[in-house]
Subunit: 340 residues, 2 copies
């Protein structure tokens, strides 16, 4: 395993100023060199201007959609055992000979500037395995956040030859929805004894999961969580030929139940391919990514033009109550500069 902590990976060198030969870096990453993979992901985290070249270079080599990595999102409330489950899942996927990349995303902390190291420590099981790449990623609050940086980091791991890319994220509100948008398959983790949290989240999680896992199956209440969940899922409308999300039980701590999870993941991947849903999901994802990049590019253009110009003048008018913000936005959009 190769772990990179977000902050340590880029420490000690001035950001965006080191001379990087992108084609060489991508070539090395494609050959599986973990250090090059790490540098590419750091470029993603830093929203480096080099990303444009990196993505073009990765794309240039990528001649088939068929051998693309399957991406799996893992979400759930704090305390359900996400990291332990991710760890156990990696073990199981390795038994099947898969090359695995793990991205642990911490969207909650624009201040800390780095993901929690604690979680990663528990991944120690794979410390000597060169076919496992684990990376904590912080979104650093730059434009677009999770939705912007994670797909690019996933693309890097895909290019680096991973068969499966796991994305583990803190399941707090928005991010559950986001992760469902990011991955081919979404695992929603639950655990007994979480009380109201599960109830409150239920409306949301019923829509995002492809595979539901009740972890800590050895604890009291696990089977009632499963029953409640199955009942709730049974009420959701699903069309002919639609995927029916299974509800599995695991004890990630000792790995029990993980083989069944991997079997269901395989089944879901098969269904995704056979139903055409894989292409649909990936296209939807690409659509959002392109849109996010376009919007960011546009904002940068505005910032470049507007800083000494139109947007500032409009902002003063709005602040002084002479114009309303909608009219100002129209003026901005119709200005020739903003059209690029």
């Amino acid at each position: 395993m190769v772990t990179d902590n977000a902050s340590s990976a880029t420490a000690g060198r001035p950001r965006g100023r080191s001379a990087v030969a992108v084609p060489e870096l991508v070539e090395k990453a494609r050959a599986g060199d973990p250090r090059s993979v790490g540098r590419l992901i750091s470029l993603v985290e830093d929203a480096s201007p080099l990303l444009r070249e990196v993505m073009a270079e990765i794309c240039r080599h990528d001649d088939s959609a068929a051998d693309r990595a399957i991406t799996i999102g893992i979400t759930g409330a704090p305390g359900v055992g996400k990291s332990t489950s991710t760890n156990a899942l990696v073990t199981e996927l390795r038994k099947a000979g898969k090359r695995v990349g793990v991205l642990a995303v911490d969207p909650s902390s624009p201040f800390s500037g780095g993901a929690l190291l604690g979680d990663r420590v528990r991944m120690g099981d794979h410390a000597l395995d060169k076919d496992v790449y684990i990376r904590s990623m912080a979104s650093r609050g730059h434009l677009g956040g999770l939705s912007w940086s994670t797909p690019q980091a996933m693309r890097v791991l895909d290019a680096a030859g991973c068969d499966v890319v796991l994305v583990e994220t803190v399941g707090v509100g928005q991010s559950e929805v986001e992760i469902a948008g990011l991955a081919d398959t979404t695992i929603v983790l639950l655990a007994p004894g979480m009380g109201d949290g599960i109830q409150a989240a239920k409306a949301g999680i019923l829509e995002v999961g492809d595979v539901y896992v009740v972890n800590k199956a050895d604890r009291d209440g696990a089977s009632s969580v499963r029953r409640d969940l199955r009942n709730a899922l049974a009420l959701t409308q699903r069309g002919e030929g639609a995927w029916k999300p299974p509800v599995l039980m695991t004890t990630a701590q000792d790995g029990s139940g993980m083989a069944e999870v991997v079997a269901e993941l395989d089944k879901h991947a098969e269904w995704l391919r056979a139903s055409g849903e894989l292409a649909r999901r990936r296209t939807r994802r690409a659509r959002e990514e392109v849109e996010a990049i376009a919007v960011t590019t546009l904002r940068q253009r505005w910032a470049a033009v507007g800083r000494h110009d139109r947007l500032d003048a409009l902002a003063v008018e709005v602040a002084e109550g002479r114009t309303d913000p909608y009219t100002a936005a129209d003026v901005l959009l119709d200005a020739p500069e903003s059209a690029g």
Copy 2:
């Protein structure tokens, strides 16, 4: 006091379909009619197409920046006593004869679709006061979230004749930064016994506060929180004539210390005016608001055009690995349709 729960306020009528005479609604809101204020804020929450007209109408009447409401953001980790402090602050501001609007923003819950009622119950002190308007607001996860809907709701309360608009938000990471961008003055609340939470947040909160309040001053450790905070603030660089954020002690439960908080808020408002910082902050805020509206408008245009057209085709190319997302974004931006 008039409370509106986000969900109940719009329940029972089809969204965006009721015939609303905007000029009449704005006129009534300006006269202080709470029901009209509530309906306007519901339009904001729902991102109604009528907002454009509402904002133009409000702006048409708004002839001077000088008598604009002072906006005060209140942020802090869960458990520090935000709602109790907001309540005590309203009491104190009412003693000074101010008309007060309160927005309680819950950015964390795209699923629940409504803010927590529990917090509002504690505001019961002002239940009979018609010069206090309290509203829970959910951002419902629509584009732009907090940064989009809150300034508009604040503008509605301003138009409705509030002298002070308080915005209370859950202090979790991003939202602390956002609230600092939204308000003229930002109060950062702390409390003893919060442990590591304060430490972790410290780097962030040192930059956003104009007034720091250590609540629960009667508890052990309150004065050491104040000391630590003062020491940390002393280390931050501030230029000549800059505002030096005070650190105050309160027990919001019984209102002690609140008079000092209001005195400091007044001082800060004076400083904002005298230094020109008020106009700068409001212009910055307006700038972000105009930009957010412009970006959203643009996305809507893209959605309208691109759904059957270019963006979809580009997304397929990216999903299949034939184009990288940056190149696709460039194509999208350079397409004549996207320029409006």
